[in-house]
Amino acid sequence: MTEYAIQTEALAKLYAVTRAVDGLDLRVPRGSIYGFLGRNGAGKTTTIRMLMGLAAPTRGSATILGMRQPEDKLAILQRTGFVGEKKTLFDAMTGRDLAKFNRPFFPRWSDELMAKYSRQLEVPMDVEFKKLSLGNRTKLCLLMALAQGAELLILDEPTSGLDPVVMDALLKVLIEDYAGEGRTIFLSSHNLAEVEKVADWVGIIHNGKLLLEASLEDIRADYRRVTVAGNALPSERNEQIFSISGSGDSREYFVRNEAERFAAELRSQGATIVEISPLNLEQVFLQLVRKEEPCTSGNSGATPVAVSSSI
């Protein structure tokens, strides 16, 4: 048993002109609910496809439940519940047909679980897949993954199209039957508020690179916004300062740790600390992703310009 349910080393997928995934080192602890976050086109789905062996990496490696892609691809598929980005199953089959079809592929498949979850998530089992609404298609895909009794779930946008009641029912299932049993859930989502509640780890990917991987408790306990007024304020990001906004004599610093000490230092240099406030996941996400955006003008320090040596 390894300590991580999912581990990747320098995982990369390069296309002719784009670096979809660019050297990813993921560490997903066993038993965690891991929120994999990023903007559209950040590389989430490509990463997930490589984890499941549905796309071949250009470089690097992925280990799932201690098994390696692509050598153990079949065993990984058997032991991982997977819902892909496109919620598609066989059009002409009903939920009941699909269950019969899927059952023999998965050693831990449970009809009991299927009956339980189809009730909890209110999945119509006797309607052909093609006739289902988007939300019901998503539910059926989730049901097929949950009925596998897998020790790892990999879910790409699992809540898209779900109404709030079903979404709540799904979260209850994931927390009670998966996280409560020490099983692992790796999910991508744009719903930051939801992730913030149920996840205990988050990874933020942007332009194929991992900008942050941390436990949410650390983020809540240590990440702070420090609002400062004063002269000659620092304008460079570093290990501690991950984003700066504002300019001139009023700035906001977004720091990863030791906010109090950072503030004390600025205060000792004559600055006024207006406020130190905690950050929620959305603010952390926006600040991290924004600083990576190619906004060249007015972004001091980011653009290489001819600078006189006296500065």
Binding site: D168, I175, E176, V198, D200, E217
Partner: protein, 128 residues
């Protein structure tokens, strides 16, 4: 017992759970020997990660607010934490200091602040 967590408040979720349970015990809504929901039950009711609840329970147990019987559930502790009064006072001093500092900054008088603390005790006592 009703607990609410707010994921956008910036206060760590486990601290929110801790402080609400402490409040419930202090106000008498939870009495000595009352049983608390299991980590799993509380997590699924609140739709929060079980590790978050487990961490709150661990901290409360360390502080003597609750006790866990191995394999037999979690209860509000029968006895006040077995600490010397000196220790208890020492634990509360930083909070008292913080109240004094904030009060001074707001230009409140010592009487105003003491009255506020008295009112807080009255509020607790008024609860069932």
């Amino acid at each position: 017992m009703i607990i609410h967590v707010n994921s956008s408040s910036g206060l760590p979720l486990y601290l929110q759970i801790e402080s609400q349970l402490k409040h419930a015990v202090a106000a008498g809504a939870l009495k000595q020997g009352d049983s608390l929901p299991s980590v799993r039950k509380m997590a699924s009711d609140l739709r929060v990660n079980p590790n978050t609840v487990a961490r709150a329970y661990q901290n409360l147990e360390r502080e003597g607010v609750i006790r866990t019987v191995p394999g037999g559930g979690t209860y509000v502790a029968d006895n006040v934490p077995g600490l010397l009064k000196v220790e208890k006072l020492k634990r509360l001093r930083p909070l008292a200091m913080q109240v004094a500092v904030e009060g001074t900054h707001l230009r409140l008088t010592q009487e105003d602040v003491l009255k506020l603390v008295e009112e807080a005790f009255e509020d607790l006592g008024a609860k069932p």
